[in-house]
């Protein structure tokens, strides 16, 4: 069972790193998605700050969760974030159906639809699995291993950022109004 629990934990951590990196790369787009759920008079600076805060929270949570598997509170934080995804997906489906959610920045063109709710529920379910206790020997990492994992987390985030930037630049020239 440890394999399943730890697989869910590592998988979610990497997912957060990719999502956070891609969101930072497409901050204007993600700000637009955040604006859908904010009061219409809210200043743009605040919306942008909120979008940046959400993206960096995902990055920080992903990195910390990956490098510190024995910290139980991180599992709960990831679970709370997963529940937040379900709530946002539900609200998006009800209020802004088929609008782009920018969940992975420019890496994907996911929209607020029924599939998005299903995906968010799967993420929350994985977070529940990840919160299950594993044997201490399985999650005991030395300082070197933690630092290496943090380095790998940074590489994955930068890779996601770069990929999202490149894809956004390519799409910028061929945005489909007709689609």
């Amino acid at each position: 069972m440890d394999l399943i629990f730890l697989g869910a934990k590592a998988g979610l951590a990497v997912l957060l790193l990719v999502a956070g990196g891609a969101k930072v790369a497409d901050l204007p787009g993600f700000t637009a998605a955040v604006a859908l759920f904010a009061p219409s008079r809210l200043p743009r600076r605040l919306l942008r700050a909120a979008a940046l805060a959400l993206a960096t929270t995902e990055l920080a949570l992903g990195g910390a969760s990956l490098a510190a598997p024995s910290a139980g509170w991180l599992n709960l934080a990831v679970l709370a974030l997963g529940c937040g995804f379900v709530a946002v997906s539900g609200a998006g489906y009800a209020l802004h159906r088929d609008r782009s959610c920018r969940c992975f920045g420019a890496l994907s063109q996911r929209r607020f639809d029924a599939a998005a709710i299903a995906r968010a529920v799967v993420i929350a379910a994985l977070a529940v699995l990840a919160a299950q206790p594993a044997r201490a020997a399985s999650v005991q990492l030395g300082l070197t291993a933690r630092l290496l994992l943090l380095g790998c987390a940074a590489i994955v985030s930068v890779a996601a950022y770069t990929a999202a930037r490149a894809i956004a630049a390519a799409r910028d020239a061929q945005i489909g109004w007709s689609s």
């Binding site: 730890l6 997912l15 291993a145 994992l149 490149a166 007709s178």
Partner: protein, 220 residues
């Protein structure tokens, strides 16, 4: 013998998988970019074709309005999006040209596909005094072939498309404005009717004639 904690092994595989997915995504995008020229759809309506009536909702107003070409007033239609940096440039340039009186006599309409809330994220869109609308009829919108943004369409007073292209520079906007104001060549040429020719302005403002096969974009 070195014992690797189970979590470390699992995390390494997860990281490797993520990097692999990102590499595949990048190569897919690279493939699309390299083959884009062959598949690229035409941007904008054909010059010389007749522009179609376009219903739209005005920003901050739920009522439906209509852009009716051929009512005697030339028009510049700009298909733009607040999340597209080049579109912001075009909106700024259009505003500057409008303030300088370079677009006098023309109707200028910015058309966005995003919901009104998106306008708040762009300083250029928030600051502009130009009319902003959101097309409300997909069929009419399809006739404009707005397959990419920004797209500027120049329509003369008779409702004929004089130019359509992705432009952001002021000289280009000025050329489009001049193209709107030129008389219909068929109306001024003496003699028997000639096959209609289309005209696309260059950045220097001169017109270059090209053969045009279709008469009416709306008829398609």
């Amino acid at each position: 013998m070195i014992r690797v904690p189970l979590y470390l092994a699992v995390a390494q595989w997860a990281l490797l998988l993520a990097l692999g997915v990102l590499v595949v995504l990048m190569y897919r995008q690279l493939g699309r970019v390299l083959s884009r020229d062959a598949k690229r759809p035409q941007l904008g309506p054909a010059a010389g074709s007749r522009a179609v009536t376009l219903p739209y909702t005005r920003a901050g107003d739920d009522h439906e309005h209509y852009f009716v070409p051929g009512d005697g007033r030339p028009a510049l239609l700009a298909f733009v999006d607040p999340t597209c940096p080049s579109c912001e440039e075009l909106v700024t340039v259009l505003g500057t040209a409008q303030d300088a009186g370079e677009l006098s006599g023309l109707r200028v309409l910015l058309l966005v596909s995003d919901p009104p809330a998106y306008l708040d994220i762009s300083a250029a869109f928030r600051a502009t005094k130009l009319e902003i609308g959101r097309p409300s009829d997909r069929d009419a919108l399809a006739a404009y072939r707005a397959s990419g943004t920004p797209l500027l369409v120049a329509i003369d007073g008779a409702g004929l498309v004089r130019a359509a292209a992705s432009v952001i520079r002021r000289a280009e906007v000025q050329a489009f404005a001049r193209a709107c104001l030129l008389p219909d060549p068929l109306a001024v040429l003496p003699g028997p009717p000639l096959p209609r020719a289309s005209h696309a302005p260059a950045a220097d403002g001169h017109l270059h004639s090209t053969e045009h096969a279709g008469e009416s974009e709306a008829a398609r």
